[in-house]
Amino acid sequence: MNGLAFDVAHLLAGGLVLVSFMMLYQDRLYALLNVFALQAVVLSLSVAWQAWAQDAPHLYITAAIALVLKAIAIPVALHRIIARLGIQRQIETVVGVGPTMMAGIALVALSMVVMLRVTPEADPLAREDLAFALSVLLLGLLMMVTRHNAVSQVVGFMSIENGLILAGTGAKGMPLVVEISVAFSVLVAFIVIGIFLFRIRERFDTVDVQALDRFRGGQQ
């Protein structure tokens, strides 16, 4: 692979990590959704670039799925859900932005070190992509644990899947059927979570998952 193709692929994958950090930084639900849509756009750009660079046309389909489903359909659906839930749009975080960011840096460092240690003889592009993908995944998990609000936890979950797709496209020869099934299982998960959101809201008048803590056993 020539220099420029590598550089652009690397830049787009790095951009994905950057957008993950932007998601951690947001404190409004609608802004969070916009950043999430931006992440999906960057992801589909990255996948499309990989399709061009690896000469693998089936990746264009993956890029199209990412663009249509995750940059348009899911953010629009989440916007509607938030509007119908009528919840407070400011996000309460468990810890402040600063510590979260520091934890995020530590996670990126961890994934870099782990990935680059265990794959010394792989293709350099795949290595870097895997490292970035693991970072996106861990940042998504971090977002799920640092937010009280169920909607932003859903966004964190969806961004984990973005990391998975990045990992899948970086490794050459991932069959299309796997990618499609991952994309659709996430969509199904999204629908299920959406129903759950409304159930939680109905029952507790809030989507703050701290309300669920009362039902944890073994503490009385």
Binding site: D7, H10, L11, A13, L18, V97, M101, I105, R127
Partner: protein, 318 residues
């Protein structure tokens, strides 16, 4: 002897930054005014303001110490030296061995330290508020700036601006994730350092929000003139810095003739115009953030710088 032309070119750069700085400020103000469909003051207004201030009497508070009178000149001197060190239209000038990024940060840090002292010197409450906020922002902005410098130095193998710009110019660098992150972080730091809109509003005197203006509230006459000139110089400095590291095209390399220098100057003017336009557009489009949100903003810049350094360190492939 080649020393005299080299000295002339170096002197031209030092004068050029001094003369261009108010023009840049005036240009940004004009574009901002036009964007909100106001006519705005003429582009040359900052020069007229400086002249007016120079002619006016300097009023000092009764309990102002000697420090208060000396500090404007100190701030102006350090900022001018720092701004003159950044390559503007050519690299490899006579004094470019002094153009070290860490030295520039140190000069700016010294200027900020003196300004914060001046804010507290007279003992008014506004000055104190301004100084405390400025120092609070500085504790985050300076580490972020240092991280950016580390990233650049790791890539270029030097902290000297002239050789960094030379390396970027040689186009052997390519696109780098670290460089992209460093650019974003540098823009965020530059916005905060120059008291531009999302952090501070340079045009307001609303006491709850002002930072830079609060510190210089007690100054008047020629003192205020040099402080304002130093603020314009700082804006020019950051724009030149971003231009020479990330958009080095058109910089005259050493050993080329007068034509290359002229091309460099035209390219520099074009870069400043584009930068000023983008700054004005950005400032018009965005609202000022709460003061207590600024540490988050600068923390994000610090984080980006850290991430850039980290990526540069860990990645094997470049």
């Amino acid at each position: 002897m080649a020393v005299i032309p080299a000295l002339v070119v170096q002197g031209t750069q030092m004068l050029l930054v001094l003369l261009l700085a108010p023009l840049l400020t005036g240009f940004v103000r004009k574009v901002k005014a036009r964007l909100v469909r106001r006519l705005g003051p003429p582009v040359l207004q900052p020069y007229l303001d400086l002249l007016r201030l120079l002619r006016k009497e300097a009023v000092l508070a009764e309990n102002a110490s000697w420090l208060f009178r000396v500090i404007p000149y100190l701030i102006f001197a350090t900022t001018w030296v720092a701004a003159a060190l950044v390559p503007t239209f050519a690299i490899g000038l006579l004094f470019s061995w002094t153009a070290d990024l860490i030295a520039i940060i140190a000069l700016l840090g010294a200027a900020r330290f003196f300004l914060a002292l001046a804010g507290m010197d007279v003992g008014t409450s506004f000055g104190g508020i301004g100084s405390s906020r400025e120092v609070m922002f500085a504790t985050l902005a300076e580490p972020a700036m240092i991280m950016i410098v580390f990233t650049l130095a790791l890539i270029a193998g030097s902290t000297q601006l002239s050789s960094i710009a030379g390396l970027m110019l040689s186009s052997g660098v390519g696109l780098r994730v670290s460089l992209g992150l460093a650019l974003i972080a540098l823009i965020m730091v530059a916005l905060a350092e120059n008291a531009r809109v999302p952090v501070d509003n340079p045009a307001t005197h609303l006491e709850l929000t002002m930072v830079h203006e609060a510190m210089v509230l007690e100054y008047s006459g020629r003192h205020l003139a040099v402080i304002e000139l130093a603020a314009s110089l700082k804006l020019l400095l950051y724009m030149s810095l971003i231009a020479c590291v990330f958009l080095p095209w058109g910089l005259a390399v050493p050993g080329t003739g007068v034509t290359a220098l002229l091309v460099g100057m035209v390219a520099y003017a074009a870069k400043l115009a584009v930068g000023g336009f983008l700054l004005a557009t950005f400032e018009t489009a965005i609202a000022k953030m709460r003061v207590f949100r600024v540490p988050d903003f600068l923390g994000a810049a610090l984080m980006l710088g850290l991430l850039a350094t980290l990526l540069r360190f860990v990645s094997r492939s470049f």
